[in-house]
Assembly symmetry: C2
């Protein structure tokens, strides 16, 4: 049971809670993580009083696995095609996943995988325990930026309203701000790590010969800090592009409180695409994407559409 590479709070929380839910249903399940925690998740785990899951070990071919919060191979265990995927709970579009046998798949276009995990508890007529309630509501607040993201659905809002009393949380707004502040306290993290903290590689265009783009996001209440390290970050983006053989690298810097996205653009090739797709010029390595704060709903689909006709 694991979430995507470069795990965010949803990837960790959903893995922990789903493993616990299955265990309560008599199915042996253990949560793992694919990569290091970001700065937000330890804060959430501490509030919930839960340990971080261990890193995923190398799995033998044929091992039964469950995926949460992702389904694309590039975001998953390196040998995913050799593993037996038995369960997936996710809120992303369906990519290149296949299964060897009929499996449990639960995908809905909601703001957060954790919202689906609440539904699974209800359908199984199991009460959500307090620590799990903390994890789930934190993941929903994190993924939806406290309902600011356009990915937010009524199900996500209803889930938080339902979970907060179980968690014993009275002031959701204050907690969300505290969580976002923890996430924004980036300290002296090397630029290469900041880039990869919430970072996914997407294939665009012709599936036989896709373009590969690395798309990072830094969601922060303190964008001034990030732009203070702009030169370093642009260097790290160019280095990642060369090292990973990518066709483009972009890093969205999302101002959570003002709901804006100013994007760092690695080079001229990327700047041309950003101009064409979003109508946004790149000045000194930065393109102002306005209110396009959702990678999943606003950035990726637009790039996908572009490369369908330009690859």
């Amino acid at each position: 049971m694991f979430g995507h590479l470069n795990p965010d709070t949803d990837a960790i929380a959903s893995a922990l809670v789903y493993a616990h839910l299955l265990s309560r249903q008599g199915i042996d399940a253990q949560a793992y993580r694919l990569g290091d925690l970001n700065f937000e998740t330890p804060f959430v785990l501490q509030k919930a009083g839960v340990e971080a899951p261990p890193p995923l070990p190398v799995l033998e071919a044929g091992t039964a696995v469950a995926l949460v919060d992702h389904n694309e191979r590039a975001q998953s265990a390196p040998n995913l095609t050799d593993l037996q995927v038995t369960r997936v709970v996710d809120h992303h579009k369906l990519g290149d996943l296949t299964t060897m046998q009929p499996a449990f798949l639960r995908f809905e276009p909601v703001g957060c995988t954790a919202t689906l995990l609440l539904k699974l508890h209800r359908e199984a007529r199991l009460k959500v325990e307090q620590a799990d309630a903390w994890l789930l509501l934190s993941a929903i607040l994190s993924d939806t930026l406290h309902f600011r993201s356009p990915t937010t659905t009524p199900d996500d809002r209803e889930a938080v309203a339902f979970l907060a009393p179980i968690a014993g949380l009275r002031d959701v707004t204050a907690y969300a701000l505290e969580m976002f502040a923890a996430k924004s306290d980036l300290g002296d993290t090397p630029a290469a790590e900041l880039l990869k903290m919430d970072y996914k590689v997407f294939p665009f265009g012709d599936p036989a010969r896709p373009q590969s783009w690395g798309l990072g996001v830094i969601e922060t209440t303190n964008p001034g800090y990030v732009f203070g390290r702009q030169a370093e970050l642009l260097d790290a983006m160019r280095a990642a592009k060369a090292a990973d053989g990518l066709d483009g690298v972009l890093l969205g810097v999302v101002d959570i409180l003002n709901e804006t996205n100013r994007m760092l653009v690695a080079g001229e090739a990327e700047a041309a695409v950003v101009q064409q797709v979003f109508g946004a010029p790149t000045l000194d390595g930065v393109a102002d994407l306005g209110g396009r704060i959702s990678r999943k709903k606003q950035i990726v689909p637009a790039l996908e559409k572009h490369f369908e006709t330009h690859s």
Copy 2:
């Protein structure tokens, strides 16, 4: 909203019931079929007092569609990759489906898609109406061969037990026999049609250069009738192989009541594979597969495994 090519009772019933369920939830949905009805489905529709869905028209690129009881492109609308798949309810393994946007996907390893549709009613807190109960329970009895198939799960049995009183059905066993008799009354249907009645093309082996095998099934309470037309059927299988550029064609003849499968084998290449995979020699075009009556659970996975290492 539509089920797979060469629709069986589940493909038709699930499309009708899911379209009705979504309509009751305020979502505009219309059921269609991909191909002609088999001999069982008209009997079921008449019992339920429901009209058959119309054939699927050619859909414009970008049209929103929902799939039931299938997910592989080869079993779906011809231009599926241009359509916007918004919902899938299925109990097969996940194949080459992708979605352009996050979608509703509900897959579970149960015996019948109709079993999942009952769950969707319950989760939406909607009562199943009488005609829908007929359709769903008929689909479950059909797909599981009245619980004889190894694909049967406790959920399928429980669903029929729950639905029968709503449908007003007292003797499930008698109804199942009547339904299977209708299915077995094949009359003077041309052999080419008998072959394609419950027939799917599967890609096996290397996804870049897959082998294509056509796998038909005739489930019948009267296998004597089928074997009386053995020569004709073998000719039709060889013709389909040549016309569709296939690497192999097999036609399982499942004796529903005795739970056995005697398979018609199109040629020597197929016979060699059937011998290797199932240890069953082919004599006069027929291989005795014993109790392997489920294409989904017993035939396809074994062939898949074989071609993974032999293609």
